[in-house]
Amino acid sequence: MNDQILMTNDLTKKYKKHTSVDGLNLRIERGQIYGFLGPNGAGKTTTIRMLLGLIKPTKGNIEIFGQSLKKNRLQILQQIGSLVESPTYYGNLTGRENLEAVRRLRDLPEKRVNEVLEMVRLSKVANRLTKEYSLGMKQRLGIAAAMLSNPDLLILDEPTNGLDPSGIQEIRELIKELPEAGMSVLVSSHLLSEIDQMATQVGIINNGKMIFQDSIERLRQKQKPLLKEQGIKADLQNDFLWLSQTEPAFVSDMNASLVHSGVSVYRLEEVKRTLEDIFLELTGTEGSL
């Protein structure tokens, strides 16, 4: 059950005086879609670069598939596909040739190129030069390159950047299907709604520190009705009466007693805090633009 494929301990990256990632303890289990959430500049991309061995951590260690990244980088990378920030594309090559370059480097079967092109719906434009691609197409190409090797762990940094709503929808559906094929996914985003719709596990990072890491259900549980802790006691604000309970029996009783006591009630409404509110509360307001 507890099949951890990625684990970091006290992962820290300092640039001179600025601490970009501070004591991060990431835990990802097999088959999870791990949503890595945080405002811009929170340290998501820096963390992902460290996970791929592109930059060296100042402190802490990374274990992927039970092996130390420092010692077995190449064996680990064999099983990882990644897309980091803005997508890589060789403008002088066609979409297919771009993937072919990756295929040759990784020594994969030739048919994979067409398979991934189909998966990200680029087959029609596969023979066009990528410098003519739109941002969304380049992004899909990057995702295709990441999936080319059929990796055990897929690391996608802001994969839906630059995609239109239908493109976002497609990629989201694609990612959600991956665990069925035994893939685990680490997907980062600064948009909670994005993570909310595909992740099974959430890690929220702010100013380089992990401020929440648990299942998405646990995050949703923070979505309880307002002022619950006050029980029957209600709060009067700007002509609105706030109650903490919403059970039909309780509400109708409350309504009856209010009406009976001469208070006219014109509307009963249940107000839930949105996930956005929870997110902002957790990250503070400084990170949001």
């Binding site: 670069r49 791929l52 061995g53 592109l54 930059i55 060296k56 190449l74 064996q75 990378l77 064999q78 990882i80 990644s82 980091v84 920030e85 803005s86 997508p87 890589t88 594309y89 060789y90 403008g91 002088n92 090559l93 040739e97 072919e100 370059a101 990756v102 040759r104 480097l105 990784r106 020594d107 030069l129 990057g142 390159a145």
Partner: protein
């Protein structure tokens, strides 16, 4: 290693590499064509004055300075084009997160640089033979002198190639490495002029011709083999240091 080489080869497709590979040989050859036709009289007089054994030797002597200046520039630009393909594609983070050793990627790109310049000198060699035949140079074709002159030049620029390649690979702004390369090529000409500084590696390309002007006239280059040995040792050292530095770099 083979799969990396083929992947790197694909990335060079439709790049401006071919233009640069052709540029220097064609420019020098067209200059020599004009020189040997429109200034034929002057050229013949000078060949006689220098005691050239044949017009072939005079041709080799005459183009040595241009080639010695032009070929380091070609090496600079070629290194820049090859490295810049990756910079421009935002490609480092993708290429270097593949399960492939960074040192091998560094070396395989350098190998394509060497192959490109090998092609360039080969074109120059064929062009010189063609030029000599068209202009009706007398005597047998001095193959060893011609081949030595062309491929010797390739070996003469190897250390500079390795250095320029490292600059272009590690510094994203290619204007910087091209500027350094241009200054180095010109510096080479000046360094070659003085007895002590002519042993500085930058000065080799302009002295790497198989035929040089000596006190008694045009003769064979006596220092040629020394240059080759020093350069081969230097390029191995430079590539070793360069690839280790490259492998340790943080990738942004």
């Amino acid at each position: 290693m083979r799969k990396i080489l083929w992947a790197e080869q694909l990335k060079l497709k439709r790049s401006s590499l071919l233009i640069i590979v052709l540029l220097v040989p064609l420019l020098i050859l067209s200059y020599e064509l004009v020189n040997f036709t429109y200034r034929a009289e002057f050229v013949e007089k000078q060949a006689e004055m220098f005691g050239a054994a044949s017009m072939w030797m005079y041709l080799l002597y005459d183009n040595s300075l241009l080639f010695g200046l032009g070929f380091p520039l070609a090496a600079t630009l070629t290194a820049s084009v090859i490295a810049n393909i990756e910079h421009q594609a935002n490609g480092w983070k993708q290429t270097l997160s593949m399960p492939v050793s960074r040192g091998k990627i560094y070396v395989s790109k350098f190998m394509w640089l060497t192959v490109s310049l090998f092609l360039s000198v080969t074109i120059f060699l064929i062009g010189m033979v063609f030029l000599g035949k068209v202009l009706g140079f007398g005597g047998p074709i001095p193959w060893s002198l011609l081949i030595g002159d062309c491929y010797g030049m390739l070996i003469a620029v190897l250390p500079m190639m390795a250095f320029q390649f490292w600059l272009s690979m590690t510094i994203k702004n290619q204007a910087f490495s091209i500027l350094i390369g241009a200054i180095s090529a010109i510096m080479g000409l000046f360094l070659a002029a003085a007895q002590t500084t002519r042993w500085f590696p930058l000065a080799y390309p302009s002295q790497a011709s198989t035929v040089v002007l000596q006190y008694e006239g045009l003769g064979f280059n006596q220092d040629f083999s020394a240059f080759l040995v020093i350069n081969l040792l230097l390029v191995i050292a430079l590539m070793f240091i360069g690839s280790i530095h490259f492998a340790k770099q943080n990738v942004q």
